[in-house]
Each structure stands twice: as C-alpha cells, then as structure tokens.
C-alpha cells in the first residue's frame, strides 16, 4: 500500500474512534481510520461464540494485568472495537461523578448541561432500548432474587434495536457510527497496526503503520495527516504514545472494575443466548451485581476454578448461568511499553479495601442467587468452596484472598486523563496531548477515574463533545 493522506487520521474504531470519525467526516473533514483488527460484517459471527472469541478479541481474550492477584482483561480488536464484544449496556455518566471529575480534574466545559446535551445527541443517533416483553429467564432471576431479599434491581437499557418479532440486534459501532463515517467519506483501513505517531517539530503529522502480507512479511506505510486522534482504548492508546516517545503521565493511573464471577446452577434449564440486562442497584455505586455471558464454554470456565474435574457439574451446563459482582477499585495500575516486547505490559495493585469489597459483593451475589432458586454456586476461587446453602455463604469472606481469587475486567480507563492540571492529566480538557501539537486522544483513556458504571455511554458522549470542539476550533 502506498502512503495515504487525509485531513485527520483516527487510530481505532471503537466507541471513541467511531464517534470521532463519523463526527469529523460529517463535519466535512477527510478522515482516515486505521484499525488493527479485521472488518467483520456485523451479522457474520454469533455473539459471545467461540468464533467471535477467535476473531474479535485481542490475544483471543488471553491478556492479564500483572499483580497479586493478576487480573485478566479483555479488549476488542476489530472494526468497532470493544463495542463488538460487550453486552451493550448503556448508562449515562452519573451527575455526581461528573461533578467530581469536573472539580478535581479541573475539566473545562464539563457542566451538566453540556454533558446532557451530548448524551442526548448520542441517544438520538443510536437506538437504546429495554427488552420488549418479558426478559430472558437468566435476567429475570436477578429481579426475582432481589425482590425476595427486598433489594432494588432494574433492567438496564442497552444499545439494542428490536424487530417486531422481538429479535434484538446490538447497535455496535460497526453497525452504526462506522457506516455513518463511511457514508460521509471516511476511509477505513482495517488489519493495520499503528506503529507510532509521526512527530515533526513538536507537531503530529501522521501515523506510521504496518500490515501483514499473506506471506507473513510486513508492509509498511504512512498515513500523513495534519491532525491525529488516538482512540485505541485505555491500554493501546498509551502504548502507542509511549512507542512514539510521548511519556510523562501517559500510561499511569490505570483504573478498572475488578470482577469476580459465580456459576449458578438452578433446578431448571436456563437461557444462554444473551447477557442478563438486570442489575442489582441496592448497593452504593462502588458495588455492582449482574449477569455475564453464559455459553457452554463460559459456564465451564466459571465452574472449573472451584470444582476442576467435576464432570457432573459441567454436564449440567444447560441449567447453569454465570453472574458476577464488580467493584470500583481504589487501586491503580500502569501501562508500559518495553523494548523488545510487542504488547504493552500492564500491572495493577488491588488494595486490601478492594479485596474486602469484593468479598462483600460475592456474599451478596450468593444471597441473591440462592434467593433466586440456585442449588449450587461455584465461585471463581481456586478450590472453592462450592456452596449449596445460604447459611454457608460466610465461608466466602475468608476465601477471597490474593492467592486464590481469580478476577477479570472489561472496563479499562484513565491512562491519559483529561483536565487542566498538568501534574495530574496528560491531556487537556478536550483530549489534546500536552507537549505535542495537533495530537489528541479521544477514548476511555481520558476518563479521570473508572466510572463505576458501564463506560460506553460516557466514552461516546465525551468523544462527541471533543470532536465538536475540534470542528469549532480548527
């Protein structure tokens, strides 16, 4: 491929990149989007399937933050990014959190009115729905358990559209903002890795790229553009900047929502095609309880931590579903790129308070699932204990320790925080990187902290705000 030229090059096509590309292309800019992963038609692969894991996940989902314990994390690597693999839950940024970000992070133009405007704009452009009719059983069980316990629960809206026959379709970026960007003239360059940002005289001037040829060799080329938006997510964006010699605060301050899972067996079959959309809202915003993908393979993974080799439990997968509790961690992590390593190194430190909160959440999750009728619970803790009675939940308090608990996360944020305080934030209030002109970040990296809710709504609204700011000021 020969070198390309554009007004703007956008690296990444997830919730941040796709919204940025569509907004700028519709604003009359010549946009080129560089995406490391493949461009897969939205209906080509079954959601949460084995094939999807192989095709759309970075490292096939096998990535982990180093630490004690290590924490597995997942990222999408395809056109549409992680919106192609998540559950599509949509939650506006809570007002109190936005206020804290605005005040502590000194973020300009981040008032409730402005955030409402951009959330409303996104909501008018993409379909957000609750399930028409009754929710699937796996989700209704959350509501049932919460009702029995006197807890609050609610069905979260999702980025879904529903046909008259009730069939739901997730409104991923590959189905929504990417086609919009293309319709407005944007070029999408899939299967292409951004190696580094090109900087000349203190200004970004494009991106050096490479793509693998069928014979395994690399083809290298450049996308030259006077404006560069990096939107690769909270791990890949800081990695790209670091590879480009831009360090300082870049990569520090990683935050996420550590999550522990439980496989719950019921005395009846349960659905496995969707992710439960109900969430328990009884607890403070630093503790969430919900449901997870529960294909046969996912159920086996969830059971295997507590009961490896329990064939009887694995054979009962049709009556088993996976649920989780997630916390807003007080810990922090970091992303590094090191010479000789292609993938960035990620590390994260959980605090003792985090572990205590996870244990509390796990016990609450157990209460919920027993109240919903579960007959056996398998926590993601090496060696269990597997429980069959609510009275035994107390044993989970001591089981959540650094050596036994197995955690994961899908919500990663805050590695290139935005704000006006250069001692805390690598980017300004609109994602402009300090020290390099014409270089912006516009993804989850900018969030000052992990939000404690599904972050996609906040990422999209902030990306739209920053793209509008760019159009108005350049």
């Amino acid at each position: 491929m020969t070198d390309l030229r554009a007004d703007v090059v956008v690296v990444g096509s997830g919730a941040g990149g796709a919204v940025t590309a569509a907004t700028l292309a519709e604003g009359g800019r010549d946009v080129c989007v560089v995406e490391e992963g493949p461009w897969i038609a939205p209906d080509e692969l079954e959601p949460f399937s084995f094939e999807e894991m192989r095709a759309k996940y970075r490292h096939r989902g096998l990535t982990a933050a180093l630490g004690r314990p290590g924490i597995a994390y997942a990222e999408g690597r395809c056109v549409g990014g992680s919106t192609e693999i998540n559950s599509g839950l949509y939650r506006r940024l809570p007002e109190d959190l936005a206020a804290r970000w605005r005040e502590r992070g000194r973020i300009l133009d981040f008032t409730p009115d402005i955030l409402d405007h951009y959330a409303s704009t996104i909501e008018a452009e993409i379909e957000i729905s609750t399930v028409p009719g009754a929710p699937p059983l796996s989700s209704a069980l959350i509501e049932r358990g919460a009702t029995k316990l006197g807890w609050r629960s609610t069905e979260f809206a999702r980025l879904f559209s529903y046909a008259p026959d009730g069939r739901g379709t997730k409104q991923t970026m590959a189905r929504t903002f990417v086609p919009r960007a293309v319709a407005a003239g944007a070029r999408i360059v899939p299967d292409t890795e951004a190696v580094r940002v090109l900087v000349d005289g203190g200004r970004a001037i494009g991106v050096a790229c490479r793509r693998r040829r069928p014979d395994g060799t690399w083809e290298r080329f450049e996308v030259r553009a006077p404006e560069v938006f990096v939107c690769g997510g909270a791990i890949q964006s800081p990695a790209l900047l670091q590879r480009s010699g831009i360090r300082g605060l870049v990569g520090s301050g990683l935050e996420f929502h550590p999550t522990i899972k439980v496989a719950a067996r019921f005395p009846h079959p349960i659905d496995h095609d969707d992710v439960p959309m109900h969430r328990v809202t009884e607890f403070p915003s630093n503790l969430t309880i919900g449901g997870s993908a529960s294909t046969r393979g996912h159920v086996a993974l969830a059971i295997a931590d507590a009961a490896p080799g329990d064939d009887e439990a694995l054979d009962a997968w049709e009556s088993t579903a996976v649920y989780y509790t997630a916390i807003k961690s007080e810990g922090h992590g970091r992303v590094w790129t090191l010479p000789g390593l292609h993938a960035p190194v990620v590390a994260y430190s959980l605090t003792e308070a985090d572990l205590s909160l996870l244990a509390r959440g796990l016990v609450h999750l157990g209460e919920l699932l027993f109240a919903a009728g579960a007959t056996a619970l398998y926590p993601s803790i090496a060696g269990g204990p597997v429980l069959h009675r609510r009275e035994d939940l107390v044993s989970w308090w001591d089981a959540v320790d650094r050596n036994r608990v197995n955690l994961m996360t899908v919500h990663l944020a805050s590695t290139i925080r935005m704000g006006e305080d250069p001692a805390r934030a690598a980017a300004d209030s609109f994602g402009r990187i300090r020290g390099v002109a014409n270089l912006r970040v516009n993804d989850a990296s900018l969030l000052p902290t992990a939000p404690g809710v599904n972050p996609q709504a906040a990422i999209m609204a902030i990306a739209r705000r920053n793209a509008d700011h760019f159009l108005a000021n350049t």
Binding site: H59, T295, R296, V299, L301
Partner: protein, 113 residues
C-alpha cells in the same frame, strides 16, 4: 506449541474426546498461546520447559506413563507458588473452553436448549 503442552492438554481434556477433537483442542490452545502477549507467553514457555524437564527425568528413570506428569500437574495446581498454580489453571481453562465449545458446536440441532 511445545510437545509437553500438547501432552498437558491431552491430560486435562475432559472425557475421551477422540483423536480428531483432541487435535482440534490442541490446535486451539496452541494458537492461543502463540497469540498471548510476549511477556506472558515467555513465562508459560519457561514453566513448560521446567515441566518437560521434570517429565523427561521421570522417563529417564523408567517412569514412562502419564501418571507421573499428572501427579506433577496436581502438585502445581495445589502449590502456594502462584505462577505454578496459574500455569495449570491457564491450560485447563483453555482446554475446557475449547472442548466444551467444540462439543456444543458438534451437537445436532435441537439437542441443546
């Protein structure tokens, strides 16, 4: 994929998957290990080398069956040394995931809920 990793997958596979299914599981695990971030893959490869050496020592001493390898894996899985424990968990997880998903895909339509 190292030979010892193929043997570990065969030992950790559930039931008797048959040669073709086992080969598919091994292919999945091998490809996934190859795609891991380098620094994680190197750690796994080092542990595989240690496991392979321990197994080879047993073979040199005339212990030729898989029982010895299985015993080492059980000890690693119960170990207080996190990397040893996680090594077995990783390979078991990949093996189980691939085995169950392939089994599901092969099930005749209507055979599952």
């Amino acid at each position: 994929m190292r030979r010892i990793e193929r043997r570990v997958v065969a030992l950790l596979a559930r039931g008797e998957p048959g040669a073709a299914r086992l080969e598919a599981i091994q292919a999945y695990v091998g490809e996934t290990l190859r795609l891991m971030p380098d620094h994680l893959r190197w750690g796994v490869a080092l542990e595989s080398a240690v496991l392979g050496a321990a197994d080879a020592a047993g073979r040199a001493a005339g212990l030729l069956d898989d029982g010895r390898l299985r015993l080492i894996l059980e000890r690693w899985e119960a170990s207080s040394v996190t990397p040893l424990r996680q090594y077995v968990r990783l390979l078991r997880s990949l093996t189980l995931y691939a085995g169950e998903e392939l089994e599901h895909a092969a099930a005749p339509a209507g055979a599952v809920a």
